[in-house]
């Protein structure tokens, strides 16, 4: 391993994961476009995935925890794909009904 890589620890991964996560949350909280919100969700999920991978890697402990840390992101990715398919269908439907994808317009269920 080269020296630069040897300096990388779990904290670096966690920082990347936290940046991704916060970006995703901000994207969800600020975007009015439903597609933007979906993108935020993707960022969010991937932020979490980075954490999983980081905790599951040998960087944290030499006696590895097995493949659990790598496996869960795969599940998450699959689920995210499925969720994106459903969410895009909802968005499309919403567009059909309201000719917009602005989430602030979707307020029929408010109390």
């Amino acid at each position: 391993m080269c020296g630069l890589l040897a300096q990388i620890t779990v904290s670096h991964y966690l920082v990347v994961g936290a940046v991704l996560f916060v970006t995703g949350v901000l994207c969800m909280a600020t975007k009015r476009n439903a597609l933007g919100v979906l993108m935020g969700i993707e960022l969010l999920l991937n932020g979490a995935n980075v954490n999983f991978v980081a905790f599951g890697s040998k960087l944290l402990r030499a006696d590895a925890l097995g493949l659990d840390g790598q496996l869960i992101p795969l599940f998450v990715i699959v689920l995210a794909a499925a969720e994106a398919a459903v969410a895009l269908a909802i968005a499309l439907n919403f567009y059909n009904n309201h000719t917009t994808v602005d989430v602030d317009k979707a307020e029929e269920l408010k109390g």
């Binding site: 949350v25 969800m28 909280a29 009015r32 989430v103 602030d104 979707a106 307020e107 408010k110 109390g111």
Partner: protein
């Protein structure tokens, strides 16, 4: 054949009609109705054959001499139990039998007459084979009633009726007698009310039933007194434990009241004496506090005869005697109801509403015969005072009914009152000590009265009317009916060639008159002479009203040409029974025809032990002469000859008056009735008895019932209404408090609160996605902060 067969044969004879009843009841509705009639007739006919077989067996073991009167003639009864229903201490409830010659004679009589009546009814009731239009019942829309025929129902009830009567005759204890007694009552109720849609028929059935209940109440009292005093229901002694001797607990009523140790003379039973003398016994026990049970029992045994007979000289109180009298009068009360004696005679004439074969059966072999039979059966239990009551009742009934029969115009009503009157004769005979005379008249009367009723039924069948005013001249159209009815009239009148031969009524009625005369000779005075005068006068009236009936029906010219034109002789199925009954009515009482056993001799065998001697009473100044006195050769010229001639002259006198009034016309019936208009009206209204009872009992009953109804409506209904109202009010209040206020209030409040919480939470749901994300973030941060710093 052995006498042990007797209970079996007679038992089967009793059960056959019952089987017929149940078969018709069960499957009759799917049969052709006529089969029910055939079955019932076959059953009673078979029962008749069995009864005759029993008679033959009896005669082969107990040959009857010529009509002699010897104590040796008496043949002991066969007593036993078919089945023990239950035993409660000393009380045994059993299905038992008591068979003596009276039982067998009654069985033969009932089955023979019932067979004739069944056969006759097969013809008489043929209208019931098809749907019937009853013109006497008008429906609300004015049309006559149409109903299905009830042919097999009729025979079903007839079978039950015969079963009840046969069972009553065979019964071996008082409890059984009572059961069959009530069965006879309910059967008569069914049959009298056969045309139930007719108001008059259902009223008559009710009347018969209710009047009989009044008598039965007395009978229950008598039964209770007998049982309370003697602890047994059985009539005869029975060796229950089979040790060959009769012990105290195995004795029956008759031998308790007339113990052999006292020569079968009336003896107040120990139980009645002790029950009445309990105060004396108590006093003795208090005076001897140290006495043991043995001392007490020996004291009682020593004192018993003195207590019973009123001290050594017989002047003191006779303990328990009045209880015996009460028991006797109670039993007689039942007989008054059943045998239609004054004052309960009112039901019998109304019982004419039933079909004529029923009248014939009720008036001869069953129902009314039951009462007289029971008096004859209980004769040994009756104290002289009871006999006096019986004689007075019989005498009044005899006279009363005979006078009413003089003016009645309904052919069946004349016969009905004649029955009441003849029953009065029987009771009078029994009451003046003529046991044999009463029983003989019961038998002869059963034959000629069933004959007379069936003849009248034949006439009614031909003319479709009961009124003698539309009859007349029918002898040409209905020769057989006319001839057989003439035989019946002659028999009931007792006409004869004196001292040579006569019809059955001659023998029985003369025997009654002789006994009444014998009684009058011993007891000169109002009652003694009165009995004889009433009996003799009754004979004349009997002759008059019977021949009045015959002349009005069969002699002279037809009064209603149209009805006369349609009249016809009855079919063979109806007149053959008439001929058979006529033969019996003529000859049943002949003393030993062709050396046969005579009915008198046969009945004499059943004479209760100890009743053949002259009896006196300690309380009433009367003497009951032995029945043998009247037939003693020594008294031939002083009793038999004058009485026979008197009876003959009386009957002829009645007959001649009837001839003068209705044949030759020297006396105009209309003139006579106008002459004695008040009396005629009095008799026509049956002495105003129905009106009197209406006034005395029915109206007050209505008034009391009205009061009861008013109390019911005002007080009881008011009470119930008020309590209902209060309950409703209480319920309303508790509903308001409990349900509405507490439970509903709690639930409503909970719901309202939940609603308010929900409403207040609504405002959080803004529907803005971005806001939700913000909330999430804030939430997560908050959780993080809290978990970090707390």
């Amino acid at each position: 054949m052995d006498t042990s067969l007797l209970p079996i044969l007679l038992g089967i004879a009793v059960l056959l009609p019952l089987i017929s009843f149940f078969v018709i009841l069960a499957v009759g509705r799917w049969w052709r109705p006529v089969l029910g009639g055939y079955l019932a007739t076959a059953a009673i006919m078979a029962a008749g054959l069995l009864s005759l077989t029993s008679l033959a067996i009896w005669l082969s073991h107990h040959p009857v001499g010529a009509a002699g009167h010897h104590a040796a003639d008496q043949a002991g009864p066969y007593v036993g139990d078919y089945y023990v229903l239950g035993q409660f201490g000393a009380l045994r409830i059993t299905i038992g039998y008591y068979i003596d010659s009276l039982t067998i004679v009654m069985c033969c009589l009932i089955t023979l007459i019932a067979t004739c009546i069944h056969v006759y009814a097969l013809g008489y009731m043929h209208e019931e084979l098809h749907p019937v239009t009853d013109h006497e019942v008008t429906l609300p829309d004015g049309s006559p009633l149409r109903r299905p025929g009830r042919f097999s129902n009729f025979f079903q009830y007839m079978s039950l009726f015969c079963f009840s009567m046969l069972g009553l005759v065979l019964a071996g204890n008082v409890a059984m007698v009572f059961v069959f007694w009530e069965l006879v009552g309910i059967c008569s109720y069914f049959l009298i009310g056969f045309y139930v849609e007719r108001k008059s028929a259902s009223n008559a059935a009710n009347k018969a039933f209710i009047v009989n209940r009044i008598g039965d109440f007395g009978m229950l009292v008598g039964m209770m007194a007998l049982w309370g005093g003697m602890g047994t229901f059985a009539f005869g002694d029975a060796d229950l434990n089979g040790n060959g001797s009769i012990e105290r607990s195995e004795r029956g009523l008759f031998s308790l009241v007339r113990p052999a140790a006292r020569e079968h003379q009336l003896t107040t039973p120990e139980g009645l004496v002790l029950a009445d003398a309990h105060e004396e016994l108590q006093r003795w026990a208090l005076a001897h506090p140290t006495a043991t049970r043995g001392d007490f029992e020996s004291y009682v045994a020593g004192e018993l005869d003195d207590l019973r007979d009123g001290g050594p000289d017989g002047s003191g109180r006779r303990y328990g005697y009045w209880l015996l009298v009460l028991a006797g009068i109670g039993i007689f009360c039942g007989c008054v109801g059943k045998s239609a004696q004054f004052p309960l005679h009112v039901w019998l004439p109304d019982a004419m509403e039933g079909p004529t074969p029923v009248s014939a059966l009720v008036h001869s072999a069953t129902m009314v015969a039951a009462g007289v039979y029971l008096v004859g059966r209980f004769y040994p239990v009756f104290a002289p005072e009871v006999l006096l009551v019986i004689a007075v009742t019989g005498g009044i009934t005899l006279f009363l009914a005979a006078t009413i029969a003089l003016t009645a115009t309904d052919i069946k009503r004349v016969l009905a009152y004649s029955t009441v009157s003849q029953l009065g004769y029987m009771m009078l005979a029994l009451g003046v000590g003529g046991w044999l005379a009463g029983m003989l008249h019961l038998v002869t009367h059963a034959f000629f009265k069933s004959l007379l009723f069936l003849c009248s039924g034949s006439v009614i069948h031909a003319l479709h009317s009961n009124e003698m005013t539309v009859m007349g001249g029918l002898r040409k159209k209905m020769p057989i009916t006319a001839a057989t009815m003439l035989v019946g009239c002659l028999a009931i009148t007792g006409l004869s060639i004196p001292f040579v031969i006569g019809l059955s009524g001659y023998y029985s009625k003369d025997m009654i008159l002789e006994q009444a005369f014998s009684f009058a000779r011993e007891n000169p005075g109002l009652l003694g002479d009165g009995f004889f005068i009433v009996a003799a006068g009754g004979a004349a009236m009997t002759a008059f009203y019977m021949f009045r009936l015959w002349f009005l029906t069969f002699a002279g010219e037809p009064r209603d040409a149209q009805r006369y034109a349609h009249a016809h002789e009855s079919p063979r199925v109806m007149y053959v029974p008439l001929i058979i009954l006529a033969v019996f009515a003529a000859g049943v009482a002949w003393p030993a025809p062709f050396g046969w056993p005579s009915l008198q001799g046969l009945l004499e065998q059943a004479r209760p032990a100890g009743t053949a001697v002259t009896a006196v009473s300690a309380h009433v100044p009367f003497v009951w002469p032995s029945e043998y006195i009247a037939h003693d050769a020594a008294n031939y010229w002083s009793i038999v000859v004058p009485v026979t001639w008197l009876a003959f002259l009386m009957a002829v006198a009645g007959l001649l008056v009837a001839v003068a009034m209705y044949v030759t016309g020297q006396l105009s019936a209309r003139e006579v009735s106008r002459q004695f208009a008040p009396l005629h009206r009095f008799l026509l209204h049956k002495w105003w008895f129905d009106e009197l009872y209406d006034l005395l009992f029915v109206r007050p009953l209505y008034v009391v019932a009205g009061w009861c109804a008013a109390i019911d409506r005002r007080w009881i209904d008011g009470l119930i209404d008020h309590s209902a109202r209060w309950t409703a009010r209480l319920a309303a209040w508790s509903q308001w408090l409990g349900d509405h206020t507490l439970i509903d209030g709690f639930v409503d409040r909970l719901a309202a609160w939940t609603y308010r919480v929900g409403v207040s939470l609504r405002s959080l749901q803004t529907g803005s996605l971005r806001q939700y994300v913000l909330f999430l973030v804030i939430g997560v941060v908050a959780v993080f902060l809290i978990s970090s710093f707390l």
